[in-house]
Each structure stands twice: as C-alpha cells, then as structure tokens.
Subunit: 355 residues, 2 copies
C-alpha cells in the first residue's frame, strides 16, 4: 500500500503545499449520475447496493471515470452502525432512511452493544479493500461514519426529522440515557473507522449531519465530546502514512474554534460560513474543506465557475483547502455542471498555489 499517485487531497488535509486545490464532492457517487441509477436498479434497493462490495466498488468509481476528482469516497450509508446493532435499517421508496426497531424503551438502550465490524460490517470492509484494489493507487480513498450524535438521532426517532423532538426531549429530560447511547456509538465508530483504516481507507471523515440542531452547550456536551473520543481512539497512521481526519458538523459554523481542538486535521464547512473568515478563525490549526452551496450547480456553467472562484479567492493563497460542496450534491444536478466545477477549481486555484 504505497502513496497514491495523486496525493493532493491528503497533502491539503495536512496543510502541505499542492500545485492546485484538490476537490471531491459529497455524494459524488449518487443519483445525479445516470450510470449510478443503472447500477442501483440492478442492485434492487439502496441498501442492497451498499451491502454488495462489487456494486459499491462500481459506483464508487463512476464519478472518477467522468471527472478528474482528487479523492474517492467509500460508497456506503452513515447508518450502517445502528443497522449492525440490530435496529433494522431500511429505505422507504422516495423517502429517507428508517429503522424498524428504533430505541423506545430504557432496557433497549441499556442492552445496546458495540457491533464487531469484522462480522456485522464485513461488507463495508470488503468494499473498502475492493475499492482500493480497483483504484490502483490513483487517488486516495476516504472512509467515513456518521457521528455518535447523528446516529443517535436516527436510532431514537427511527427516521429523519426536521427537529428531532424525541432526541431533544431525551437530551433535556434523560441526559443519562442519551449519554449511554452516545458512549456505545462512540466506541462503535472507533472500531468501525479503525477497521476501515485497516482495510485500506487513507483518510476518514465523520459526518455530524445533525449536530447543528443543538444549543451551543448541548453541542459541546452531546456531539463534539464524543467526536473527540473518536479522534483519540482511531489510528493516526497506517503503514507509516498519516491517516488524516475530517469532521463535518452541518450548521456548526459557530463552533469551529472548539471543533479545531479535538484532534482533527480538517473541518468540513457548510455553505453558510465564509471560508476566508473561517480560515482566519482556525486556519493555523486545521485545514478546511468546502463549501460551495450545492444549489449553485443548478445555475449556468459560467455561474458555477464564478462562484467557485469566489470561494477559492476567499480562502486565499497557500495550503490547507480541499474544495467541496457545503452539502451533498443534489440528484437534480446536471453532471456537466459538476465537470465544469472540477475543471474550474483545478484551473482557478493554480495561481493561489504558485510559489
């Protein structure tokens, strides 16, 4: 397992010089690509697609065949861990993820156990290994997990919500129970990410999709604290190569200073944050990943190029920026606009990296 030929992504995460700003795109293997939809139709359900290492490898590589992206990301779901805990993940057609057996009773929470990734999540590790072989060291592979708090939201509610009222209710009325879930989740994420690193993931990202619904104090106590445990518990390197870590709390722009302190290499930013201001706040400590509004990709290629240029300019000269969207790419995005974005970022960023 040697260094990938294109290591701009890994270098940027470690704030090392690169000739241009690397880019990958959250949900880059997704429904905006016709070839993805074809593979998914062959697979049956979304979950069947995740659980087949062959098909997960196929879709992981699809965006890389189209666009000169600087990283691949494991095709999987953020909710594989609670599924492995026995909660029964499924996807209702046209809706988001759901659990057959959400946590309703105190004894269910007491009985929660950390799943062994080498058995219950074997399919993920097999996919990581197979994708690494298929990538042939062209670009690095990102492994990932949902954050303990984000997993808990779905485990408690049984599905996505806008307010996660049951989770909040537990947080204020029975914080001991929520802490119990989060402790188990944190240990599960540590084991899971370590297993992904062992299987070949060259960087890891924790998606804290719902941490942004919390108050300032609750975010620190119920989300960030457990992500810090994860950073302490996962391998720093493998085969002598550092494995950079990224944490992304959607809606977490107010908390970047404390996020930068938990042992991460990079912070993901949603599009509400001015990336230049974020860099002034934390850019001496961590790299930044982001943060184009995915809606920009609905506009013309000219607008895409202009808006991408604004973000590059806002970050400014020098190392430590990985370009991305501020959220997953929409299924209604024209693939040509993604092509334009990738080219624009590569081209427009070169002067910012000149010696």
């Amino acid at each position: 397992m040697s260094r990938p030929k294109n290591d701009t992504f890994l270098r940027a995460l470690l704030r090392q010089p690169t000739p241009y700003t690397p880019i990958w795109i959250m949900r880059q293997a997704g429904r905006y690509l016709p070839e993805y939809n074809q593979t998914r139709a062959r697979a049956g359900s979304f979950l069947d697609l995740c659980k087949s290492p062959d098909l997960a490898t196929e879709v992981t590589l699809q965006p890389l065949a189209r666009f000169p992206l600087d990283a691949a990301i494991l095709f999987s779901d953020i909710l594989t861990i609670p599924d492995a805990m026995g909660l029964g993940l499924y996807f209702a057609e046209g809706e988001g993820p759901r659990f057959e057996r959400p946590l309703r009773e105190e004894w269910e929470i007491r009985d929660l156990d950390v799943p062994d990734p080498t058995t219950h999540l074997r399919y993920v590790l097999d996919a990581v290994a197979q994708i690494r072989r298929a990538l042939d060291n062209e670009v690095p592979l990102i492994g990932f997990s949902g954050s303990p708090f984000t997993l808990a939201c779905y485990m408690i509610e049984g599905r996505g919500k806008t307010d996660f009222a049951e989770t909040k209710r537990m947080l204020y009325a029975r914080p001991d129970l929520l802490h119990r879930i989060l402790e188990v989740n944190a240990r599960a994420v540590i084991d899971y990410l370590n297993a992904q690193i062992e299987a070949g993931a060259q960087a890891v990202m924790v998606f804290d999709t719902w941490g942004g619904i919390l108050s300032h104090a609750a975010y620190h106590e119920f989300s960030l604290r457990y992500m810090q445990q994860i950073m302490q518990g996962i391998a720093r390197s493998r085969d002598g190569e550092l494995v950079p870590r990224i944490v992304f709390t959607k809606g977490g722009g107010l908390w970047l200073e404390s996020m930068a302190d938990i042992g991460v290499d990079a912070l993901g930013l949603d599009w509400t944050v001015d990336i230049g201001a974020a860099r002034r706040r934390v850019g001496e400590r961590v790299a930044l990943q982001g943060n184009l509004d995915p809606s920009v990709l609905f506009a013309s290629p000219e607008v895409v190029r202009t808006e991408a240029g604004k973000i590059l300019e806002s970050f400014g000269k020098g190392a430590g920026h990985v370009f991305n969207l501020g959220h997953g790419v929409s299924q209604f995005t024209p693939p040509e606009h993604v092509a334009m974005l990738v080219d624009a970022v590569h081209e427009l960023s070169r002067p910012l990296h000149a010696a």
Copy 2:
C-alpha cells in the same frame, strides 16, 4: 397612547435599565394552550382566526391571562403580505402554509405589486387597534412581518421546504428576478409595518425564518440588504415614543456583526448561539432577544429553571436582554412549564439587574 405600565420590554430593547429581564415567547398564543384551540375551533380555519380582529384579539390576550409576560404580540401570520398580493394563502390541515398561485412565470414576477395595507390588510390593522384597546396599556404590543427573503421563499415554492431549491435556483440562475421580488416585498413590508405602527404597534419584529439557508454572501445580498431597507423606511417613533425594532434570522448566528449594523435595536437569537458570546460580539450596539431551545420545555420544571438560569448567567449583568425561546414554542409544550419559565426568568434575573 401613553407608555405601558410595564415597559420593561421596551426599555430592554433600548438597553435601558430594568428591575428584571423581561420575557415573551414566540408563538405564545398558540396550540399548546387549550383555550387557543377552542377559539380556533370556533373560528374555523387558522386563516379565519387571523382575519377576524375579534378572535385575533382574543387569542393574543390568552397567554397574558395565564402568565405574567412582558409583551403581547399581534396574532397573525408571517405570510399575510403575499396573500394580499393575490397569491392565495391557505393552510392544508396538519401542514404548513401554502399558496394557490405561487410565482411560476416571469410575467407574474414583473406584475407583482405592493399591496395597500389599509385595504387588503385592513383586518391586521383593525386587530392591532383592537388589541391595543384590550391591553389597556398594561404591556406593549409587538407588530411583525416576515422578511422579504422569507416571503419570497414561500412565494416561489408555494409552501415550506427544507431546502427551498427553486428559490436557490432563481438566486443563482436569475438573480435579477429574485431581486425584483425582494424589492417589491421590502416596499410592502415597509408600508405594512408603518401601518401597524400607526395602528398602535409599540415595537416591530421582522422574522427572517429562512435567511439561514443562504451562503454568507447570498445572505447579505438577498436577505440582510432588504431588511436594512426596511429599517430605513419604517417610522422610528410614534407620539414621541421610540418604536424599537427587532430582526431575527433563524440560523443567522454567524452574521450578527453585520445584522447589528442595519439600524435595528435588537437581534433575535436562535438557540445555537451562546448568548454571552453574542453579547461580546455585538452587545455594545444592540440588545439581544432569546434564546432557550424550545425543547427544554419538554423536560421537568426543574430543568426548565436550570436552563433558563444558564442563559441569564451567560448574558450576564446589566441591560439589553429580552428573554425568549430561540424559536416558536412547540404545540406539545405543557403550559405549566411555560409558567415555570416566566417565573424563573423574572426571579433569577433580579440579581443581575441590581445596582
């Protein structure tokens, strides 16, 4: 029209000393109150309730009969303006607001016109006047409007969304059209709030419920700029009394510095912001209103008291804090918990205002 007997709310907005921290609650006249549900059932629909000055007065006063709140807020909807523009506001049972005729065509946007509040929104002005008479100068009455951008979101999409993709699409693909809508909306809000002030509103608040979905740059260009126009266009005082202005952008915690600059007296804060940190950022320029997570009210009265105390302590000593939730009160809130909150804020804040 003399000064209300309890003017703590008005004084706090102007950062003048008060004996305790005043409190009111967003959506304080709402579905968590059985008496509200009874009046609403009598009214027929939610919109019938808004459009009847008698019934709007009745429900506006209901929470004040229960709790020693320091302000009343006009019972109305944020979407009355587009309704008056002819878009046909209605409420599907159990769902949010919708428009029968959202803006679909360019000519519809070109044809948009500022409604005359004294005709099309007469029912609101009548309600303001009637509520003022019913309040008998006990506490001040807050008038309000949706922000130009928030109105535009609903006018374009026809209903609430989580991402407002059509609005974003227009923002990036046809910014000229969105600006046209926003200009009309800003003029409409100015006329509407001036008419409310003329009818007796003693403070005004602009609810920018959806500004927080925008990028940093887009927020300033498409939401804040038009709220600034409103602040420039509305009356500063009536009958020799200042009419304080509050602006609340949900999810706007990153932008407090620029929000404080548009001619407002106070900024509303959602619960993601640490109010003490917000005060250090802008507290020399504006008062702050907020910011308890409404979910705290699901917990026990003891937790409600503790969490309210934390916010009061975080703001700290001295003038310039109006206590509120960080969002509207949930319909599932036990009214006794609201009673506990109001009492706790009044009691726990007194030492913070001691000379």
